[in-house]
Symmetry: none
Subunit: 203 residues, 2 copies
DNA sequence: TAACAGCCGCGCCGATTTGCCGCATCCGCG
DNA sequence: CGCGGATGCGGCAAATCGGCGCGGCTGTTA
C-alpha cells in the first residue's frame, strides 16, 4: 500500500517477500552506497560497518563532493546528513535522485525536526533517523521495503544511551563547554554537569 | 523542484506563481475539504475557520465515517488527525488518495514525532503539523505549493527530544506494545507507561 | 589594574521522577 | 478451564532534577 513515491522500484533484483530488499547477487553498482556526512569519524565508522554488511561504500563530506560523487557514480543507496558545512543535504538528495531515480536514501541528522523530516521525505528520502543511529538501524531503513512497519527491531540502543550519545556529540561540538552545551540542549547546567561527572571516564 | 511524489499535480487550476495554490474560480468539488478529527469542538472550530477561507467543508470524526465520506464525495483537500479513536488516520489517507489521487492532505497530530511524520508523508500527505495548529497554518500547508525545499536547519535537538524520538520509533516498531518496547529499550515498563501517558495524552 | 562577564565545580534542599512491588483486568491458546 | 502475557494503576522509598548561590579561574575592556 501507500505506493505514492514515484519511480520507487529499483530495476534490478530489488524485491523480496514482504518488500524487504536484499543485496544478494547484486552487481557492484547495485550495492553501491554513498555516505555523505561532515563528521569524519562517524562517517568512517559507518562506512566500515556498512562494508561489513555487503555494501560497496563511498564517502563524501560536503554537498559539493557529495553531488559530484552522485553524478559520477550514481549509487543505489545513500546515507546523507541533513546539515553539512557547505549547505543542506537536501541538495545532495536531489542530485542523487536525478542521477538515479530508484536510489534509496536515508537521511541522518542530529538537527532534526518535523519540518525538515517532511521536506526530506518529499524530496525522496525513504527514511529520516535522528543521529545517534547505529548501523543496524541504518541498514534496516535502507533495505526495508516500503512496508509501513519495516523490520521488527532487533536490539535497539537503550533510550538513555541514545540520549547520552547525543549529549556527547553536542558537547564535543561545543568544545567541551558545559554551559554552552546545556543551553543548546535545553537542559540545566547543573544536571548536565552531574551527568558528565558520573558518566565520565573518557578522554 | 523536488518533484518526487507521484500524481502530485491537481488537475484543475492548481498552479500559481511560486507553486502556491488558489481557490479562485474553483468548482465546489474542487474546493471541497474533508476534516477528520475525533476532537469534536476543535473539529467544528476548524471547519468554520476554513469555510471562511473559501473551502467547502465536510467533517468526520472517525476512520469509518472518514473513509466513507472520502469515497462518496472525494475532496480536493483534507485535514486528518493521525490518531483517531477507531484507528489510524493513515487509513483515511489511503482511502482519500484512492478516491482522488491529487488530493492534498495535511496530517494533524497532538504531539508529533519524526517517525510518524515520515510515515504520513510516505502515505501521501503533503504536510504534517503538530497540534495545536491554527487555521492559518493549516491553510498555508494545504495551499502551499511544493516549492520551498529547504526549511532552514535549526539548532540541535534537545537531549530529551532525541530520547523521545527514539522511544517512539521503537514503540511503533513494536506495534505499540508497551511491555515489549520497555524490554527492548531496557527501561521499566512503568516508567515507559508513565511517559507515554504524559507525553501523548490526546490525539 | 580594576571591573566585568563567562565558565566551572560544588553544596544544598524541595519537588519530581524512577524503580519496583503488587493487584485487577483482559485477551489468545490449547 | 487454566496459563502466559499485556495493560493500567496505586503506592512508596530512593534517586534525580531544578534552582539557587558560592568561590575560583580565566579572558576582555575600560
Amino acid at each position: 500500500m501507500t505506493d505514492t513515491i514515484a519511480a520507487r522500484r529499483e530495476a534490478p533484483g530489488a524485491a523480496a517477500r514482504d518488500g524487504a530488499i536484499s543485496l544478494e547477487g547484486r552487481s557492484e553498482a547495485d550495492r553501491r552506497l554513498l555516505i555523505v556526512d561532515d563528521d569524519a569519524p562517524l562517517c568512517q565508522r559507518l562506512a566500515r560497518a556498512m562494508e561489513k554488511r555487503g555494501f560497496s561504500v563511498e564517502t563524501a563530506e560536503s554537498v559539493g563532493s557529495g553531488v559530484d560523487a552522485a553524478q559520477r557514480r550514481p549509487p543505489a543507496f545513500a546515507v546523507v546528513d541533513l546539515r553539512l558545512a557547505d549547505g543542506s543535504g537536501l541538495e545532495v538528495v536531489s542530485a542523487l535522485r536525478q542521477a538515479r531515480p530508484g536510489v534509496r536514501i536515508v537521511m541522518l541528522t542530529g538537527y532534526g525536526n518535523i519540518a525538515t523530516a517532511v521536506a526530506a521525505v518529499k524530496a525522496g528520502a525513504v527514511d529520516y533517523l535522528p543521529k545517534p543511529a547505529d548501523a543496524d538501524a541504518v541498514e534496516r531503513a535502507l533495505l526495508a521495503g516500503d512496508s509501513a512497519l519495516p523490520p521488527p527491531p532487533a536490539d535497539p540502543m537503550s533510550a538513555d544511551r541514545v540520549r547520552w550519545e547525543h549529549i556527547q556529540r553536542v558537547f564535543e561540538q561545543c568544545e567541551r563547554n558545559v554551559s554552552e552545551t546545556a543551553r543548546r540542549l535545553k537542559m540545566h547546567r547543573r544536571t548536565l554537569q552531574r551527568m558528565l561527572s558520573k558518566h565520565a571516564p573518557r578522554s
